[in-house]
């Protein structure tokens, strides 16, 4: 974008949202040049903060008239560059649309604006004993709008499902300014499942201005166990055996020895530092029967040579255990100056194979790789440690990441479980999908966003979109 376009644009935007809701000075725009993915940067020409659906409509209509691209942004916690304003243009920051419009406990849904922080919704529901089930590790900061865009997961999605399972409807502002409500407070509307298509579209269809979400009753009780294993193999075999035994844990998370060091330094939970791996295993539901499930899990873990299985005895212990897990990525900052978190998926039974492969890659490229992941659904998060000031290490991290993700594809999985494709993994799309599949996806996108003005060059490697090869970098929470 040139400044020649920016000036009338700024005037239009100020007229729509008022001067207090527009940022246009160079120093104010700088911080919007990247999100949690810091390898590629680009400043928007202007940032606007709408406070209503009508304002979003007016903003995108102005963009339409002026031929300016735009990109929606929530808290900017994407690890894949989902909020990178490619080509500049207008950044629609939804952080001032943060009202919880309605909570209906009897019908179990809530209507919320996209800028509501995931955890705020759960906190709001807490006194009545409800929560919003998708709980990504960044839930304390990320917004519902971003959860809808990336179809966020989290530790508890093993049992409760990902975001798409908890979104009943979306009010979407299309790039031409049309407002399309899909779904609504009741489930399974006839016709095509448009809500299902919109969730996970990474902002390439339009701007979600309102979301109907399902709210979930809190489980009556939990049993949270910490299994300590000598080897990663024993831990992963335990995972497969638990699922194989018909138990569906609320969560099943693995941390290897390297990540344990970081987490212990940060949170002092009392993790055994000499263990090969630990599993956090949680069952929840009606209190009756949980002890039995817990006993069966302990038995399975022991059969797989668990050194010990500890129980979280108090709610405080349970919360500290979860905090340690959820903030593990950030804690890795204590082990190395830089790190790159990968986000691959493999079928659960292939976990031992992919972890062996990661180990092998670490040796091959002389890199330390820590592992912490949602073991229950095969979503791995190898964290490659390095020093970004050493170009050779950066190169090795890049090659190692690519090899690991290629192996995930080879094993029948994919290159992202929850972070999304964004700009970071766009080069993998042709490896995951045939040209026909990609062409079909483009046709679908064009039905909503025919000019590609909304979130240009995201997710789909469209013609002419030469995204630079992604480089490894400093990543944090997932």
């Amino acid at each position: 974008m040139t400044t020649a376009v920016a000036t009338p644009l700024a005037e239009r935007m100020r007229a729509v949202v008022g001067p207090a809701n527009v940022l246009s000075s160079p120093s104010d725009l700088l911080v919007y040049e990247c999100d949690g993915f810091t390898i590629e940067k680009n400043q928007p020409d202007i940032v606007v903060f709408p406070t209503s659906t009508e304002q979003i409509v007016a903003i995108v209509k102005a963009c339409h008239e002026l031929g300016v691209p735009f990109v929606p942004r929530g808290a900017g916690t994407s690890l894949a560059g989902g909020c990178l304003p490619i080509g500049g243009g207008v950044m629609i920051a939804l952080t001032r649309m943060k009202r919880i419009l309605e909570v209906n406990y009897r019908d179990r849904y809530a209507i919320i604006e996209p800028g509501v922080v995931n955890l705020w919704l759960t906190n709001h529901l807490k006194p009545r004993g409800y929560h919003f089930a998708p709980d990504p590790s960044s839930q304390g900061a990320c917004t519902i709008g971003g959860n809808v865009a990336t179809n966020s997961g989290g530790p508890h999605t093993l049992k409760y499902g990902v975001t798409v399972n908890h979104v009943l409807g979306v009010e979407l502002v299309l790039p031409d300014g049309q407002v399309v409500p899909t779904g609504g407070p009741v489930e399974d509307m006839p016709g095509y499942d448009l809500t299902g298509v919109i969730v996970g579209s990474e902002g390439t269809f339009g701007v979600a201005s309102k979301v109907w979400v399902r709210i979930t009753r809190n489980p009556e009780a939990y049993r949270t166990l910490l299994g300590v294993f000598e080897t990663v193999d024993d831990a992963t075999n335990t995972i497969s055996d638990i699922i194989g035994a018909g138990i569906i844990p609320g969560a099943l998370e693995m941390l290897d020895s390297l990540i344990l060091q970081a987490v212990e330094a940060a949170f002092h939970f009392g993790f055994p530092l000499d263990a090969g791996a630990v599993l956090i295993m949680e069952v929840d539901g009606l209190d009756a029967g949980l002890d039995q499930d817990a006993e069966r899990i302990i038995e399975i873990a022991k059969k797989n040579h668990a050194r010990e299985v500890r129980k979280a005895n108090t709610e405080a212990e349970r919360l500290l255990l979860w905090k340690s897990r959820k903030q593990a990525f950030g804690a890795v900052g204590r082990l190395a100056p830089s790190y790159c978190t990968q986000d691959g998926v493999v079928p659960r039974t292939k976990l031992p194979a992919v972890l062996k492969f990661i180990q092998h890659v670490g040796v091959k490229y002389a890199l330390k790789i820590a592992n912490v992941f949602h073991a229950g659904d095969g979503n791995i998060h190898p964290i490659l440690l390095f020093d970004e000031r050493d170009p050779d290490q950066v190169k090795r991290v890049l090659s190692a990441s690519n090899e690991i993700l290629d192996e995930c594809i080879r094993l029948g999985g994919s290159v992202t479980g929850e972070h999304g494709i964004g700009v970071e993994k766009i080069d993998f799309m042709p490896k995951l999908f045939a040209p026909d599949d990609l062409a079909m996806m483009l046709r679908l996108r064009n039905a909503f966003n025919p000019d590609g003005r909304c979130s240009p060059r995201k997710m789909l490697p469209t013609a002419g979109a030469c995204i630079e090869q992604s480089k490894a970098g400093r990543h944090a929470a997932m």
């Binding site: 120093s27 104010d28 949690g36 952080t95 922080v117 006194p127 960044s138 304390g140 944090a476």
Partner: protein
């Protein structure tokens, strides 16, 4: 680009600790209110680094965002990477002050009162004397109602609006108070400056609670303001002067009882400062500052003494829980909410202890307060330097307190108590706003709060 680089003397590695994950954003009160990345911790670090690198100018807009920071450290609690935000923002603000680029948000009168009066307990007490009299005689209400208050200069009116209901000052506490029953510990009490003038009853309650718990309490005469008010306003030199005086008052003058004629009625044991188990403080802001003396003097000849001093500093709630408090007996039938003062929860990681003390009081029901760790907007002199944001956060806190339908709100810091009172007084007239130690003493003694 020919932009000047800025060197605020910050270790560049501290910038690199931030991995740009954004988990701090929703913990930051100004971001929660404004939703602008520039007013978030991650954004501010990005701005400071960009200015340091010469990527952007230290222009008015950048300074505005940095100045709006409350220095509440909620971001440090939220950060999994261990970013030391305070070690970035504070030197950077001092740099802005030195380069003369820092905008001046205070009137001369406010500065005079804030830096020349507030830190001096006696001056402050005298200054508040007319206000005390006015409140007790009803003159204050009359002035408010008649509009006479409007004749005061705006900046002074703003300060007047903050005043809590003032209770009678206890006068001068003895330098030495003996333990009740078997002595379990020897402590020194830090009484502070503004806190002592605004809430004298809390210092008195603290001393009595300590006695009740078997502590000899020594109240060094030569102690002064902790220096926090100046330090957080980037006035490093006066802050260090105060700190040095305190080191002297507590360490070198630590032979309590020296001047006592032997054999007098309440003979005090001879005790050197080394014999004191702790320096007790009841104000979160002062406590965080006192605990930071080690860092303040880390590169000076006073380093060792400062480190010894800092190690002994304990918040009253922290100290009592470690000691094992005597159970209070008089019931207080009330639904109470506890607000976490930033400098307790983020600054000192003290969250459980005050709650544990409150829960010991018979019939007191502690209810959860949503966003209890979000700053109330008091933040030292922030009330005066950023009145608009302080008001937004004050109103936000008030809404959260009202939502609990509690009849009492307790907090361990003088600034918070003033702010809570200011924004809740009219909305809920019967509401008790007090320090947890006030409540604990009332439950020990049966005296009304």
């Amino acid at each position: 680009m020919a932009r000047p680089k800025h060197d605020a003397g910050i270790d560049y590695e501290l910038f690199l600790d931030c991995v740009h994950c954004g988990l701090c954003t929703s913990a930051c009160p100004t971001y929660v209110e404004l939703g602008d990345e520039n007013d978030s911790p991650r954004g501010r670090i990005y701005l400071m680094r960009a200015v340091t690198d010469g990527r952007i100018d230290l222009d008015e807009s950048v300074q505005k965002h940095l100045d709006l920071c409350l220095d509440c450290r909620a971001c440090e609690s939220a950060c999994p990477s261990g970013v030391q935000y305070g070690k970035l923002i504070e030197p950077f603000r001092i740099h802005m002050e030195k380069t003369g680029t820092k905008p001046d948000n205070l009137s001369w009168l406010q500065k005079f009162l804030l830096y020349r009066f507030t830190p001096y307990a006696i001056r402050m007490r005298l200054a508040l004397a007319p206000a005390r009299v006015a409140q007790w005689t009803g003159l204050d209400t009359l002035m408010r109602k008649s509009g006479l208050l409007n004749l005061m200069p705006g900046s002074l009116r703003q300060m007047h609006a903050m005043l809590p209901p003032l209770k009678a000052h206890y006068g001068t506490m003895p330098e030495w108070l003996p333990a009740e029953g078997t002595r379990r510990a020897r402590v020194a009490l830090f009484t502070g400056c503004a806190a002592d003038a605004f809430f004298p009853q809390t210092n008195l309650a603290t001393a009595r609670v300590l006695q009740k718990n078997g502590c000899d309490v020594w109240i060094p005469r030569k102690q002064v303001c902790c220096g926090a008010l100046h330090y957080h306003a980037a006035l490093e030199a006066p802050a260090k002067d105060f700190a040095r005086q305190n080191l002297h008052a507590f360490l070198e003058h630590g032979t309590a009882g020296q001047s006592q004629p032997a054999g007098s009625a309440n003979a005090r044991p001879q005790a050197a400062w080394q014999d004191f188990d702790a320096i007790i403080v009841n104000a979160a802001g002062c406590g965080a500052m006192l605990k930071d003396y080690g860092h303040l003097f880390h590169d000076s000849p006073d380093a060792d003494r400062a480190a010894i001093f800092a190690k002994k500093v304990k918040d009253i709630s922290e100290f009592l829980i470690d000691l094992g408090p005597v159970a209070p007996t008089h019931p207080w039938k009330v639904k109470a909410a506890y607000h976490d003062a930033c400098h307790l929860c983020h600054g000192q990681q003290i969250r459980k202890q005050p709650r544990q003390l409150l829960e010991m009081i018979p019939e007191l029901q502690l209810v959860p307060l949503n966003e209890s760790e979000i700053c109330c907007g008091a933040a030292g002199s922030y009330n005066l330097t950023q009145p608009e944001m302080a008001e937004r956060l004050g109103e936000r806190k008030a809404r959260n307190v009202l939502d609990t339908s509690a009849d009492a709100v307790l907090s361990g810091n003088v600034g918070c108590l003033i702010q809570l009172g200011r924004y809740l007084r009219e909305k809920k007239p019967g509401l008790t706003v007090a320090h947890p130690i006030d409540a604990l003493w009332a439950s020990y003694s049966g005296e009304p709060m």
